[in-house]
């Protein structure tokens, strides 16, 4: 670890940068709150918590959906356990051509409307960037994870795991607008029942523009 891209600190110990403060008491809820550099909460950050020990029970794969509505992928970020499948329906009246050249899963769905293709399976962890070959403004991500626990931060930048068992876990954070080049990950102890705050050290990239009329950039 060279340059630490973000700081984790206890809510009660503001000066303790790069430190995970924990109660080391018992298994219990874990609350992660993510703040941008300007101090505002960051919603939509993907938090994954993966057991460090081998043989941890794998999360059951799911069947998820990444829709295309009004020239946008819905949702813009989808988190799925490894070995899950994703259906890519096109709910627009016009055709789309979905592709990924991310190393975790390369695929392409030839020009289509409706739901003509079987779901795509994702058997490698990683971040898959989706695009439409016809509409370059369409951009979305699939986060494939081995983690037992994962979720998004809410509007107040918070994600709560109701019950994290005792033991060592790796907590990872990802957001499409993060400028950090190094992967953001830290060890946490499952005995922690405190609140973890993550303060990003760099500004986010500008969010994609929304609400432009459909007739633009045809």
């Amino acid at each position: 670890m060279s340059i630490l891209p973000f700081r984790i600190r206890c809510a009660s110990a503001a000066a303790a940068a790069f430190l995970v403060c924990a109660a080391f008491a018992r298994a219990g809820p874990l609350t992660v709150t993510v703040f941008k550099r300007d101090g505002k909460a960051l919603p939509g950050a993907v938090v994954t918590v993966e057991a460090e020990s081998q043989g941890a029970p794998a999360t059951q794969p799911i069947h998820a959906t990444m829709d295309q509505v009004d020239l946008a992928f819905v949702p813009d970020v989808l988190v799925i356990p490894v070995n899950s499948t994703v259906q890519f329906p096109n709910s627009d009246a016009i055709s789309h051509q979905v592709y990924s050249f991310s190393s975790a899963r390369r695929f392409q769905l030839p020009l289509y409307r409706g739901k003509p293709y079987p779901p795509v399976s994702f058997d490698q962890p990683g971040i898959i960037t989706l695009g439409c070959n016809i509409h370059d403004n369409m951009l979305a991500y699939i986060v494939v994870t081995r983690a037992s626990y994962f979720g998004h931060t809410d509007a107040s930048g918070k994600w709560t795991l109701p019950n994290l068992p005792a033991g060592k876990f790796r907590l990872r954070l990802w957001h499409p607008l993060l400028n950090e080049t190094a992967e953001i990950d830290r060890l946490v102890d499952g005995a922690t029942d405190g609140t973890i705050e993550i303060w990003l050290s760099r500004n986010l990239r500008p969010a994609p523009l929304t609400g432009r009329p459909h007739s633009w950039d045809y």
Partner: protein, 406 residues
Amino acid sequence: MGLLRLRLGVAVLMVGAQATAADWQLSLDMRAVASDGRESFLDNGQGKLRFDEDHQGIRLGRLRAALDQPLGEVFSAHIEASTWDDDDKNPIDLTEAFIEYRPYPRAGFRSRVRLGAFYPPMSLESRATGWETPYTITPSAISSWIGEEIRTIGLEGQVDWLGTRLGHSFDLQLTAAIFGWNDPAGTMLAAHGFALHDRQTTLFGRVGAPQPDPQFAKKELFHEIDDRPGYYVGAQVRYLDRAVLNLLHYDNRADPTVAAPEIRDFAWLTKFDAAALRIETGNGWTAILQALVGDTYIAPNNFWLEWEFDSQSLLLAKRFGVHMVSARYDEFSVLFRDNPALPGSEDGHAWAVAYTYDPGRQWRFALEWLQVDSTVPQRVIQLGEPAFASETKVEFSARYSLSGTF
């Protein structure tokens, strides 16, 4: 074996075509116009506006039909047809028609090839369907001129490096094209200079009404005269979806000594460099800066005549949901090098302010005020009018669009 392969190929194409039906669009854009413009360049005058004093009231802005037809997985055909109702040669005609090859991106790169008739990638304001600007009714002097005189009829290749799909903040694009059938490009700049109008010259049409005077060109732009292809090369850098910088060098490589009596014109050797920058912010602001500088030549009997031209524009727009307010300033000039006082030289600028209301897929309303001030010596010589003219137009546009699939 070859025949079998061909049959298989055709069968695959047909399956693809059946699986992906054509998208069509139809739109009718009606205008209400109040104008004190001089006799329009479309009627062989020296006015800068599409609708002059004699063309006020309810007018047809544009009747447009477009078709996108996928041909298999990675090919598609695009056709744009329009009616402008400006005494053109054909009541309905094409503005663009091309086949596009757009293979899947691979390892961060994507190529794209277009074959047919289309616009070179240079206007960052003409981003709406039908090569229209969504900010105003009337595009900038630069875009007006491109729509009037320039069309690529040939082959264009593009390569994109899709950095934003690899976790970077930038995308890059390089473009190169080879084309023909645009040798008269430049003739309108010498005849009436820049104009501010939303009328695009059609592929088989001409610029407005017929020219009755046999001394003047027929105003038909899309002809091959000297059998020498032209080219352009361009580059584009995009920062996320916030900023775009576009550069283009264009040279139609026409042989200016060659005449084309059938259109009473010459091959105009036209070269230009164009730069455009568009910046959009998260709170609805857009700024578009455009610049164009070039030369055009003819050489009847090897006697070379040169016109220099340049134009700049700055547009600022603020979007409030479905409402948008825009303001633009244009500067333009043409200099006839051999004698600035003789026909072909001009100097001018224009202000435009527009409000657009775009409530959904079907209707769009726009209101625009446009003033063009220009000094054109040709007005004195040809029309016995003062060289300076200030022309003002207020125009309301109501556009109804339909789209669907076959």
